[in-house]
């Protein structure tokens, strides 16, 4: 069948429960390229649309390790190689004194990579997005819940998909122009 240039079909629901159910159904129906929008985090919604592996923890871990290592090695290098000085009779490599900075560096780098890792993986910042063109979508940050099937989905078909979504009993169903 022929396709018109749309970005996807956006179905609106009025409760978290409705959204989750619809999402599950859609996913079960074999749609892959789908997404759901809600004004608050909803448990199990991500799983419902088939999102499983989350890389943020890994990114954070790596960041933290790099931070810690940098912190300690910097101090080690400065005090034993760059300019070893006799400070109050303490050894050049007084590791107990180096712990604090090492720790703080670990936290700092870990935290930064957690936040920026999350944003990067989410592809944010992205000030423009097609769904914003749908006026009702402004409610997605208040009390409305949306499900979208992207036109890029293999199984996507103007008519069939619309029929399928309507069968889920959304409040509204809008076509998101590309």
């Amino acid at each position: 069948m022929k396709r018109t240039p749309t970005y996807g079909l956006l179905a609106e629901f009025d409760s978290p429960t409705a959204l989750v159910k619809a999402a599950e159904a859609t996913h079960a129906a074999g749609y892959v390229k789908i997404d759901a929008y809600s004004p608050l985090p909803i448990e199990g919604l991500a799983e419902a649309i088939g999102f499983h592996h989350d890389l943020v923890p890994l990114v954070t871990l790596i960041g933290a390790i790099i931070g810690g290592a940098t912190g300690y090695l910097m101090q080690y290098w400065i005090n034993t190689m760059a300019y070893p000085l006799n400070i109050g009779g303490k050894p050049f490599h007084s590791w107990p004194s180096f712990i604090v900075v090492t720790f703080e560096m670990t936290i700092l780098f870990g935290g930064i990579s957690a936040v920026f890792g999350m944003l990067a993986l989410n592809g944010l910042p992205m000030p423009y997005h097609p769904v914003f063109n749908v006026s009702r979508f402004a409610m997605a940050s208040k009390d409305r819940f949306f499900l979208i099937v992207f036109s890029s989905d293999k199984k996507y078909d103007d008519v069939k998909t619309r029929e399928f979504l309507e069968s889920l009993g959304p409040k509204t169903l809008t076509e998101v122009p590309d």
Partner: protein, 1019 residues
């Protein structure tokens, strides 16, 4: 200005970088050039006290105005650290902002090298010249350090028998006096600038008139002097003008000494003591361990030698005194009594040695006197009775008699001709002068030095005599435009002793040639030149006069003699030989039984003497030995008397005596005798300069010629007001709310013999650390210091020496009272026991140079770190001023520049600074460095000669200046160095050892040698 740069300014660098005004200077003519350039510098700076040249300024309004004013602009500001030189602080700040770090580009500094370099000069390497400082006629022989002919540091002449390297605070601080920007800088007539030429012309007329009158109208008033040349000039002058009279007055004089000598021997003789031979010393109110007592430098050395329990028998010191003095602090037995009681004691003593006295024995003094007598007897020939200058003649006479009968004369006591060239009674002398003035006999009054308008006795009224009787020609010759200059038409600015030629006798009569280190900064004229003018040889230079005089004495091979005398700093064979004097039998009148009423003692100030040094910031800020007061004199009173009159510290009281009144603040002085007050002279100056004017109260106002040292019948009354006194040590005991702290460790000789290791505190053993100790023992040198508390007499010399050597700033009273004084070494004074008569101890505290330095660990930028030789280096240019190091320093020896304390502007002060030491600016921490500049200098010298630094080759400034030789610095890796030997002694202990800071500076515990019998009687 051109050397204003980052925190640190130095006048020149090792490699001979030098600034204009330091250049072509050298003694004699060339020095003029130096002044030209200084003027050039001055020209850049605003402010009425500077000008381009005499001629140009002579007419200038601005200058007249300043001459008429009491003191130059900024005077009032000068004292308060905060507002002082307000805009300069901004400058300092901007400077700091401008060029703080090493990466900042330096301002372009021109170099002005010699055209023909004098061969003795190696830029950056100082030269030393021998000269002498004179106070009250007594010379302190000196070696003065000179950088490119700028004198920068005063040191004692170690070859001279009267100094042995030691000095006193006045000599040390005299360098600042020479560079004092407030010194009178020109000849003036009624306040207007005149030249020397004008002065000469102005005098010719009157002098010719006087020739006719055989000088009948000429009166000369001078201070005490011992200069043979001046004495000779005086002789010639009086030969020319037989009718002229020469008067001598000095407020702190030796009248009693000579009167006493007359009583005893019928002639005025000088008494010289040998403390090194005295096993038992009894001081009758004699403060012979403090600066100002003739020969104190030598006496301290000798006394300290005999206080070392390791070296032979320890001497025993009995002190009777009318105040709390450093000598009293060192005493083994001390009793404070009102001044009038000293006579009684002297009589009790005398009668024991067969001198007929109306001895009114006093019960509670018995044990003390008995003990003293017993000890004196047992040590006849090796004992000593020393009378104090401010005790009446009879006390001196009795002392002479006792020494005589003990057979001490010729062993510990020697009599010589007076060092004073004319030992007349000063009070009589000035009274006579005033008599003549009032009866109009005087046409021409020449005041050579001295400031009688300020310091003459209250009753003789010199000042208003000078005002009321308008003597046609009144000439004042002095270093300052002071109170006296104000009342004379003519003022001739004196040449400082570092600027002009002269000669002077030490306490033992040895003559030193006073040779100038620099040409007069302001064309000052010495007394010699004035007198030459008066005797019709105008224009002869001081140099020619002095040299001329000695030429007459030494015809044979004069040049060799002259060079030797200048080089050594004294003239062979001028020491007075002891003379035989026959004692007349003394019969002491019955002493005025100590009346119940309040006594008032007048004493010379420990810091500024009779007031002549009151414009000297170093001395004003020098803590007085016994109460650490700075910038003020106070009314000292005993705790008991204070309680009776319910007075508290800093209460303002009004002291009235025979209708005259003075107001001063109370300071409760532990150990001060009851029912008596002590005030220090020399304060309350009206025309001292920016530093000294208006500081403290003028005690001369109550001083009558009849009772110059002690007046009875004074009354005090609280005014209800209070007045802030600035003491650098608020808390003067080791007792705390929870027990006593072992800061100064002491024991009696017996205890020490029983338990030699009493001073050792449980020091954590070196093994008790997880850390690998730093291998200092592998080094060639490990610097350390040992301070012998037995030797230290709290003379403060080290403080001034350090201040001079290390360019330490003066901060002013307000800052001191906040606790922000900058001294790198301080002398803590602690009182222990009964406050009525406590034991007192001194403890000099420089940086302890801890091996485990707590200060270093906490510095966030590593501005203080250890050198391989164990120095606790302080890098000013790295310091950002967190003050954490100071907080963490248990000895509190670190000093912080809370504000811009350094004077970056005054050209004279720039010239004074030690070029080898950084000048610190605002916001950085500073502290004692063990004089690292001297260590480096010594090392470089040694390494260039491929040898090790010899022991004693490098001396810290404090060590060098210490008259008691109580501070010893050196290499502790060398077991044979003096410092190692001292540290090996049983008495050696480190302060706060239990903190395991491992100080490099350690102390030798203080041992007292009391008479056990008296101890028992007291307890």
């Amino acid at each position: 200005m051109l050397d204003l740069s980052p925190i640190v300014m130095k006048m020149e660098e090792q490699n001979g970088k030098a600034h204009q005004h330091q250049e072509d200077v050298c003694p004699g003519k060339k020095g003029k050039l130096d002044f030209e350039t200084v003027r050039a510098q001055i020209a850049e700076t605003k402010g009425p006290e500077f000008w381009r040249s005499l001629e140009e300024l002579a007419g200038s309004e601005e200058f007249r105005e300043m001459m008429h004013r009491e003191f130059p602009k900024g005077a009032s500001e000068w004292l308060s650290g905060v507002s002082r030189r307000g805009f300069l602080q901004l400058m300092g700040a901007s400077m700091a902002l401008a060029g703080m770090t090493a990466c900042t580009k330096q301002p372009v500094e021109p170099i002005v090298p010699y055209v023909k370099q004098p061969e003795e000069i190696v830029p950056g390497r100082p030269l030393f010249y021998a000269t002498a400082f004179t106070l009250g006629g007594y010379a302190s022989p000196l070696l003065v350090e000179s950088h490119l002919y700028r004198p920068t540091k005063i040191e004692g002449n170690d070859k001279h028998p009267a100094s042995l390297g030691g000095t006193d605070i006045f000599a040390q601080a005299s360098i600042l006096e020479m560079y004092d920007p407030d010194r009178s800088q020109t000849i003036t007539y009624l306040g207007d600038v005149r030249t020397w030429g004008d002065f000469v012309n102005a005098l010719t007329g009157p002098l010719n008139v006087q020739k006719g009158l055989r000088g009948g109208g000429i009166r000369i008033l001078s201070r005490t002097f011992s200069s043979p040349t001046l004495a000779d000039q005086k002789k010639n002058f009086l030969a020319m003008f037989p009718e002229a009279k020469w008067h001598v007055y000095e407020p702190v004089n030796r009248d009693n000494v000579f009167e006493g000598a007359k009583l005893a021997f019928g002639q005025p003789v000088e008494t010289r003591y040998d403390f090194s031979k005295a096993d038992v010393i009894v001081s009758l109110d004699a403060d012979f361990l403090s600066a100002g007592f003739p020969g104190s430098t030598k006496y301290i050395r000798d006394f300290a030698k005999r206080r070392n329990p390791e070296a032979g028998e320890m001497s025993r010191l009995y002190v009777v005194e009318s105040g709390m003095s450093a000598t009293g602090a060192k005493a083994d037995h001390r009793i404070p009594v009102p001044s009038s009681m000293v006579v009684v004691l002297a009589q009790m003593l005398g009668s024991a040695f067969g001198i007929k006295t109306a001895a009114g024995a006093v019960r509670d003094l018995e044990p003390f006197v008995a003990g003293a007598i017993h000890d004196l007897r047992s040590r006849s020939g090796a004992s000593l009775v020393v009378p104090g200058e401010h005790q009446p003649p009879i006390v001196h006479a009795l002392a002479h008699a006792v020494n005589e009968s003990l057979g001490n004369v010729g062993k510990t006591v020697f009599y010589t001709d007076p060092v004073d060239a004319n030992s007349v009674n000063h009070f009589d002398s000035i009274k006579e002068l005033i008599g003549d003035m009032r009866s109009g006999k005087v046409d021409m009054l020449i005041i050579l030095g001295g400031n009688p308008a300020y310091d003459a006795p209250a009753d003789v009224g010199f000042a208003d005599a000078l005002k009321s009787t308008n003597i046609p020609v009144r000439i004042h010759h002095g270093l300052y435009q002071d109170e006296t200059a104000e009342l004379c038409q003519w003022h001739v600015n004196d040449a400082h002793y570092l600027e002009g030629w002269s000669d002077s006798r030490a306490y033992d009569g040895t003559v030193s040639i006073v040779q100038p280190l620099i040409a007069p900064l302001y064309d000052g004229k010495s007394a010699h030149e004035i007198l030459a003018l008066l005797s019709g040889q105008s224009g002869t230079s001081g140099h020619d006069i002095v040299k001329g005089y000695w030429q007459k004495q030494h015809t044979a091979d004069f040049d060799k003699f002259w060079r030797k005398s200048l080089h050594d700093g004294w003239i062979e064979g001028t020491t007075f030989a002891p003379k035989q004097v026959s004692a007349k039998s003394v019969t002491a009148p019955s002493a005025a039984a100590a009346s119940g009423d309040l006594e008032l003692n007048f004493r010379r100030d420990p810091s500024i003497h009779d007031g002549r040094f009151s414009n000297n910031g170093w001395l004003q800020e020098l803590p007085k030995p016994m109460n650490k007061l700075t910038w003020d004199n106070a009314v000292l009173i005993s705790p008991k008397t204070a309680q009776e009159k319910n007075l508290k510290v800093e209460d303002v009281v009004e002291i009235s005596l025979n209708g005259k009144k003075v107001q001063g603040a109370i300071w409760i002085q532990a150990g001060h005798p009851d029912n008596s007050l002590t005030v220090f002279l020399g304060y309350g100056r009206r025309r001292a300069g920016r530093v000294g004017t208006g500081v403290g109260f003028d005690a001369y106002a109550l001083r009558y010629s009849a009772t110059p040292w002690t007046a009875t019948g004074v009354t005090i009354s609280a005014t209800g007001a209070t007045y802030k006194l600035a003491s650098t040590q608020g808390y003067q005991t080791m007792d705390t709310g929870s027990g006593t702290r072992p800061l100064v460790r002491t024991a009696t000789l017996e205890e020490y013999r029983k338990e030699p290791l009493f001073a050792k505190e449980e020091e954590p053993p070196k093994e008790l650390t997880l850390y690998q100790p730093y291998p200092y023992d592998k080094q060639d040198y490990a610097w350390g210091m040992a301070i012998d508390l037995n030797g230290c007499v709290g003379c403060n010399n080290c403080i001034v020496a350090c201040q001079s050597e290390n360019n330490i700033a003066v901060v002013g009273k307000e800052q001191v009272s906040l606790g922000r004084h900058m001294h790198w070494i301080r002398v803590d004074a602690y009182y222990q026991g009964d406050r009525a008569n406590p034991a007192a101890y001194f403890q000099p505290v420089p940086c302890q140079q801890c091996e485990n330095a707590p200060c270093e660990v906490v510095c966030p930028v590593g501005a203080t770190a250890h050198s391989t030789e164990g120095l606790n280096d302080m890098v000013y240019n790295r310091c950002i001023g967190t003050r954490y190091c100071s907080n963490n320093c248990p000895y509190k020896v670190r000093r912080f520049n809370f504000l811009l304390f350094q004077d970056w502007e005054t050209p004279q002060l720039k010239m004074m600074r030690n070029p080898d030491v950084s000048v610190r600016s605002r916001g950085v921490m500073e502290k004692c460095t063990y004089c690292v500049q001297r260590i480096n200098e010594g090392r470089i010298t040694a390494e260039r000669e491929d040898r090790k630094i010899a022991d004693g080759e490098v001396q810290s400034a404090c060590q060098q200046s210490c008259p008691a030789d109580a501070i010893v610095f050196g290499n502790i890796n060398d077991p044979n160095s003096r410092v190692s030997k001292l540290k090996a002694q049983a008495r050696n202990y480190s302060l706060l050892a239990d903190l395991n800071t491992r100080p490099r500076t350690t102390y030798l515990a203080e041992i007292r040698n009391p008479n056990s019998e008296i101890e028992e009687k007291h307890s």
